[in-house]
Amino acid sequence: MNALTPLTADQSYLRHFWHPVATVNELEAADPAGNGPIGRTLLDEPLVIAKLNGKYVAMRDRCAHRYAKLSVGKVLENNRIQCPYHGWEYGASGRCELMPACPSDAIPKKAFTPAYACEERYGIIWVRLDSSWDCTNIPYCEAWENPEFKRQIIAEPYNWDSSAERRWENFTDFSHFAYVHPGTLYDPAYSEPAIVPVDRVGGELRFFMEPGRDMLDTLPDDSPLGSWNYRNSMPFSVNLSIRLYKNDKPFLLWTTSSPTSQNSCRNFMIIAHTEDDLPDSQPLDFQKLVLAEDQPVIETQPGPIYLDEVSLPTDKISNQYRKWLRELSTAAAKGEEAFKAALFTDVTESK
């Protein structure tokens, strides 16, 4: 069998982006004090997440002493993470501040674990492994921006045995819906999903879909059928803003996939709506149904994307996404300026 060619030669460009690692709820639930620590993986890096002195921190989950996992340790009242093995204490900067066995000895230079940029937003904790270029932003989410929204639901994250790239492509894939392209109603032989204008704006992949209204009759009431406006911060975020056909109200489906490793991802979701008395379980259950259908299929795909895959004209969203990922990977290998240009050079097709 011939060797396949991966879409990106080098995945290290992903380290320059912010990725979600845990919800605030998850961290608070881990320990009675609500400060963690918890262990998470991001791009094959084990991370320990904690709240120290009111601020969220993320460090390599590895004590400098004998490489035990700090996430199995404790957050102390002095705002340090304590290693479970020999009690080494780490401050927010990642530097070891106390070695109980030799408390008065000078602390060696190597007694530290790398700390990464860590921020909370939307009730989610975000980490950026490489902040040397400091040119990326936490992905866009509309849930708290639109005053029409009455409720924002932060779902429990779920894992898939597939890559973040594959998960993103699945979420934006329209072939589930048998759209009839309105322009070709004259002959059913030409029915196909619409090929829409796709823009790159400020590091977001943006496009708009308008499925046929006649589908309102055939789909369940819960399905968020309406005009769909996408603002997707690269590389793994989807902000799907819907104007529902049934009542002309806005509805938000936001998801960001976290690349834990090449073949696994952890997925974060936020739902926002305008209903007064809608129990959270209703929209969450509907999403779970959709996920249950998709997961077994997506998990059969290989994690990495390959150039050998056959692309069709109607795969425009996925094709544009892949082109951009490839450009970002190549640019990052060239350096900061090339990467910034690849990420922030806008391309407009829609006007």
Binding site: H181, G183, T184, V196, P197, F208, P313, K351
Partner: protein
């Protein structure tokens, strides 16, 4: 003559331009085969009608296509355009006052490279040409395979193959010695406004390489288009003679194969018969 009488030409898909271009210029009017076409620009697609009759539309290869007749199948295929490691540009839509048959005739002719496109596509010190092998495939498309001409950019002989599946369009396959089996593509799809006025829509789909600068490539291709337009509008007859009126020499075999293919397909619109 009315295009309706030329069934080969009437029942085909024709490009109207790239949707991005149509949106930017807010182009709501165009012409096809002598008929006025009205375009409506929706948020996610563009629709077309002629005399209030809605026309079928589809989007392929970065263009919006429509037809006045009944095409049997989608517009011509170039799936490689969608490969994600390609630099793809729908470069330019050039209005040219001549028949689309002349436009294609010009694309497949390599002998003019050193004179009309000096130092870009050819130079006067390398005049050797290898004519292509003409054949017609099962779908009826004309192929001109492995024409060779000197290319100044690479300082070596370049190999070209042409596929003509419609009278007014040609896809050029540029052979790449580094990746045999994969080609760089240039597509020229001419939209007939009427018999002597066409718009040449040109696209490029090259395997992206580090040295490629989109702006420079676009400028080079537009220079070539402008140079070709200069000559195309200076033929004494705007239509392509299929009656043997012009004098041909040995190296004109591609042009002759194309003219023979047009005669075999009974194409009359845009031709002098």
């Amino acid at each position: 003559m009315s295009a309706r009488e030329d069934a080969v030409v009437w029942n085909r898909w024709y490009p109207l331009g790239s949707p991005t271009d149509i949106r930017r210029r807010n182009a709501t009017r165009t012409r096809l085969l002598g008929h006025d076409i009205d375009l409506e620009i929706h948020k996610t697609w563009i629709s077309a009608s002629s005399d209030s009759r809605p026309l079928p539309v589809t989007e392929r290869l970065g263009y919006v296509w429509t037809s006045l007749g009944k095409p049997d199948g989608p517009p011509q295929q170039l799936l490689e355009y969608y490969e994600v490691d390609r630099l793809v540009m729908n470069i330019w839509s050039t209005p040219i006052k001549c028949s689309g048959l002349r436009i294609v005739d010009n694309v497949i002719d390599n002998a003019h490279f050193p004179f009309l496109h000096p130092n870009i596509l050819g130079d006067e010190n390398h005049l050797d040409l290898v004519p292509g092998e003409a054949s017609v495939d099962a779908a009826g498309a004309l192929w001109l395979k492995s024409q060779k001409a000197w290319l100044p950019l690479t300082n070596s002989v370049a190999e070209y193959t042409y596929r003509i599946s419609d009278p007014y369009s040609v896809v050029l396959f540029i052979h790449r010695p580094t990746t045999p089996g994969r080609y760089d593509y240039l597509g020229i799809f001419a939209q007939p406004l009427d018999e002597e006025n066409f718009i040449a829509h040109k696209l490029l789909a090259w395997i992206r390489e580090d040295w490629m600068d989109e702006r420079q490539l676009k400028a080079d291709q537009q220079s070539i288009s402008a140079q070709d337009k200069y000559v195309l509008e200076r033929h004494v007859h705007k239509k392509l003679p299929l009656n043997g009126a012009e004098t041909s020499i040995e190296v004109d075999s591609s042009s002759l194969s194309y003219r023979e293919w047009l005669r075999a397909n009974h194409v009359t619109y845009g031709a002098m018969t």
